[in-house]
Every structure is written in C-alpha cells, then in structure tokens.
Symmetry: C2
Subunit: 342 residues, 2 copies
C-alpha cells in the first residue's frame, strides 16, 4: 500500500484519530467569534507570572496537560510531543517541554506549526512508532509584538494591514488506539501535504497575509494534484492566519488557477475576532489556527457538520534580521486532511 502519492502528499492508512483537544486564549479571543468554545479564557494574560514569556509557557503547559486529562491519561503516557511557537529559540515549547518531562521534538514553522506537528504526529502514529502523540502550538500578543515589532511600552499604532497576534495555546492528542475517555471518536487524520517555501517578494512585515497566501495556494494545488481530488470533495478548506487581505489574495490566486474555494473557505485569522473589536485584518500567530481548530473545527467534524476538511496552517518565515538586510518574507503552508469516520 502506497504511503505517498504525487510529489508531496503522505497517506495515513491507519487513520489515526484526534482523541481530544484543548484551547486556552486571552480575553480578546474569548470575546470574539468563537466565544464560549474555548476551554479557558484568561482574565490576566500574564497568568500571574512576571514576564509574558513565562505566561505563554504556563498557557502552553496548561493546554498540553488538559488535552491529556480530557482523554483520561497523564502527560507521562504521551510517547512524543511535537510542538513549536514564534519565539526565538522556541522559548515556549522548549521550557514547557522541560516542565512536562515528555519525549520532545521541537519544530519551527512559524504560524504553520500546528499543521507541521499534525503532519509529523500523523507519520509517528500511522507508522507505528509513537501513539499517543501531543501536537501543540502557541503564540502570545505581548511576546510576539516585542520580538518582531516594537516594545509594547512604545505604544505604536498598528498599520491598516497588520493582523493581531493571537494569545492562545492549542493542544491535540493524536493516537491509533482509543483513550480511556472518548472526547472525540470520529475525527480521523487521513493525509498530509508537506509545504515548500514560496516567496513572491513581499517585504512588508505588517502584511504577512500577502507573504503567506502564495505558499497556501501552492500547497492546495499540490494536494489536489497529488491526490487527484477536486475542491468540491471538501466541505471546508481552512487556512491558518492569512487575515482579511491574505484571504482575498488566496481566493484571487486560487481563481487564477481555476479553483473556486469561496463556498467552502474559512481563514482562522480572519474569523477569530468580531468586527466591532476593531482588529480589522484579523488574527495571526501559531496559536491562531491551533485554538480555532481545537475549540471549534474538530467539533464540527465530530458532530458530522463537516465530513472532510483540508486544514492548512500558514507560516510567514519572517525575521527581523533578514528584514533589516533587505530580504523579503518567505512563506510556507503545510496541509492535513481531517475526515469524519464512524
């Protein structure tokens, strides 16, 4: 049985299941479009810690432990954790892995992390190497802002194309065998497509959607070509955090390639906040697609509302250093297929 088709697509024939998930967010996200769906909404986005980095670690660890608890296992029963975040040296994932004590593989895919971890988690489970595995991603507005842009204390205003980094951590527990508590029973991971780095020359660090949309389109096209599928075979095609401008650009690039995504398309970033919240271009960050997937999208598959979803997390591989050296922002998108199974 072939486990790879076309150029970049892997098939998970044993169809490992997402068994449980946890999503923790801050106030803005908790009051947004997915209100009431998150496990925890933080009152204090510093989580009682003395730095935002420590707060992000605490949020990450809590999500990781909660995903395990919900499924009725301890964190010590996890065979491997695949995780990443936006911070230099993966501060959040690395320091969380220290506290959690699990076998750990650190990934860097910027905002594409959630799909990268599910892709590699799928390979570890389906290949019979590790099960259960924990796939996690997080981001925090206040850690990202000062690392990538300006210290919060400067009080700079956001330009009109800027998305807001989501403060949130998402964790998914993936396994081939059932868990003691069946939180989800029907959410199967059936395939994945590995991303390529695509760069059309966008240099504006405040317009990451535009930097990522070409990579997203490239991976959708690769997936359809590799599997011989049509867009109509998916109930939902989800991108991570293209935001409003990036989403428009993806729809336009797709239609140039004769794909009509519009009836089945959702961008986690563009949909996470309500219009009246004033974050006009939407959310971004590795945590953005992670918490929307964990809090809402998996449920839609579980209850049969969505039968088949192509989930793409999109990463702008931007770096302040290369930006200062005049480089453009490379983008990448990894995709996984999540399907309802009885």
């Amino acid at each position: 049985m072939r486990k790879r088709i076309g150029e970049r697509t892997l098939l998970f024939r044993s169809e490992p299941r997402v068994r449980s998930a946890a999503a923790i967010v801050a106030k803005n996200e908790g009051e947004g479009a997915y209100r009431g769906m998150f496990d925890t909404v933080l009152d204090d986005d510093k989580c009682g810690e003395d730095s935002f980095e420590k707060a992000e670690c605490k949020m990450f660890q809590t999500a990781a432990r909660l995903a395990c608890e919900k499924a009725g296992i301890g964190i010590g029963q996890v065979h491997a954790m695949l995780a990443g975040d936006l911070l230099n040296q993966l501060i959040t994932a690395n320091f969380s892995a220290r506290e959690l004590g699990v076998p750990y593989l650190g990934l860097y895919g910027a905002c594409s992390t959630m799909a990268e971890s599910l892709l590699l988690g799928g390979v570890l489970c389906d290949g019979g190497y590790c099960s259960p595995v924990l796939c996690c991603a997080s981001s925090h507005f206040s850690t990202a802002e000062r690392q990538y842009r300006f210290p919060l204390e400067m009080g700079t205003t956001a330009p009109p194309t800027a998305q807001r980094t989501v403060t949130g951590a998402g964790a998914l527990l993936l396994s081939t065998q059932p868990m003691p508590i069946p939180v989800f029973s029907h959410v199967a991971l059936t395939a994945a497509t590995i991303g390529r780095v695509v760069d059309l020359g966008v240099t504006d660090m405040n317009n990451m959607g535009a930097a990522m949309a070409p990579a997203c389109c490239d991976t959708i096209l690769a997936h359809l070509r590799d599997t011989g599928s049509r867009v109509e075979e998916f109930d939902l095609i989800v991108s991570g955090d293209l935001g409003t401008f990036g989403s428009e650009m993806l729809l336009s690039l797709s239609s140039q390639n004769d794909l009509n995504l519009i009836d089945r398309y959702l961008d986690c970033g563009a949909s996470i906040y309500l219009e009246e919240q004033g974050f006009s271009c939407g959310g971004s960050g590795a945590g953005c697609s992670a918490v929307v997937l964990a809090a809402e999208l998996l449920d839609r598959i579980e209850r049969g509302d969505v039968q088949r979803m192509l989930f793409l997390a999109t990463g702008a591989l931007m770096s302040p250093t290369t930006g200062q050296q005049g480089e453009s922002i490379p983008g990448i998108a990894h995709a996984v297929v999540l399907e309802r199974r009885d």
Copy 2:
C-alpha cells in the same frame, strides 16, 4: 513487529541507509583535527556575500546540493528536507529551503538538530512515507556570536569555558532504495531515541557543555534501558558538542550511573580543533556534529573501522531573552544508532 521499545526508542526495521554526505567548513575547522576530510574549506567565511547570514545560507545550500550530486540525483528528487540551524526564525534553513524548492520541514533543536533530523528522517524513510530525505544542520561563528553574545566589532574575549561556534554545514542523504552513485553502501540507520529536556540549573551562557551533559547522559541511559544494550556493544559513542568541560561532566555523570564510556567516547566539539589553535574548550553549534559526522564518522562505518555507533547531538536550548529573565539553560539530546551492514 514492534517499532518502538521502552519509553523513547524507535526501531527502523528496514534499516534505511545513509547514501552520501557533504560537509563544508571554514578555515579554522579545515585546519583542525579533521583536516583534509571536508568537501570544501572556505577561504572566505562570508562566501562573497554582504552578510554572514547570507554566507551561512550559501554554505548550507551548497552542502545540500552536493550531498545529492554525490549520490547522482538532483535536489528536485528529494522527497523531504528536514533541517535547522541556530538562528532566530531558522534563517539559514528557511531561506535555503526557498532556494532549493524542496518539500521542507523546519526543526529547532539548537545543536541537537543533526540527530533530530536523522531521527525524523529515519521515521519518514522506514515508515515508507518519503525516500530519499535530506537531513541538514549548520552554524556559523559570526552569525551565532552576534545573536547570542556580542557583536564581533566589540572585540570581546572568550571566557575560559566558552566553546567556539563551528562555521560549517553538513548534509546527509538518507534512503531506503539505492541511489545512482553508491558513495556509502554500508551505513545503516537502525534506531533512534527521542530526547527529553533536562535542566540542572546551569545559567552560564559561556558553559553550554555543562548545560547539555545531563541531557546527554539521560538519553544514553534511556537508550540502553529501552534496548537492553550495554555500552560495550558500541564501538563508538559520540556526543555533539559538549566540549572539554562538558565531556568531562558527561564521563563523570555516566560513571555515577555505572557506565564506563571512556574507551569508546568521542565528542565532536572537543575533537574538532587542534590544541595549538587555541580554542581550548572546543567547538559547538548545530554544524559541529553535522560536519564531523558527514566528513569522518560515516567513513569509519563504511570502511568497517566502526561497526556500531551511538550518535548523540546535544542542544543547549539557551535564549538571550530567558537568560536575561534569570532562567537557566535547558538541554536536550537526541540519539541515533548507525551500524555497518553488508
């Protein structure tokens, strides 16, 4: 057939082979203990570029392409590249992946990257998902120094425990099927042990060996326990870049655990420079173990000098941000077993 034994060890029953490898280094490394073994020794560690970051990218890409060329394939035939480096946002691996155009999975494990990429590359090959895969890691003295410590222009002197970041890129081509040109025919990847983050509280950024040694010992113990092996079953146990102090600490920690490594132990960092070069504590960096493996260790297996090697790449997950916040330096070590097969 079980593909996982004990707590953290994965078995690669199909025994994918390392088919070729390439190692590029700068002058200091080229004049060190492995003189004459590298594919290219750079005259100019800026590679004719206008920044050290761009130079590191060029070095990385050249190594990646060369590993493919040697085996008689084009870079376009690679099913996946698993790679990382030390720079924020994985500048080197990400921008190189853009130029190479291959399906790409970015990893962050600091100096443990070479083993992490071989571990996941082994899973992808052995599981039947991707073959060939390219596993790469790099580091550059001048990019690392200014990111982690001080700008070179300050002319600071190194404290006595400081290791020198190796300027080098290593690439290994791994596959289940033979390649057109058989550079190596006998180097099999048979198992891997996933690391855990271990932190004994070291806070000195100039003594990374001490921060990594406990994690290295932890992974050696886990591997032996998981597989029921004894130290004597390995001809060579290799650590990545513990340096002279870290190596001493590993030997001492091992002997406290009743392991006598000394007759079969090599640290890539402690051995890469000659004493007269004056880098008294040895080399470090993700490129250090990558180039020693690619330039020398694989050859020793190929020619039968070494039958069985436990290769551990060790990462100090240090971050200037967390350092300033008073955090200690977590360490991690992933291990792979490389064995001679006829």
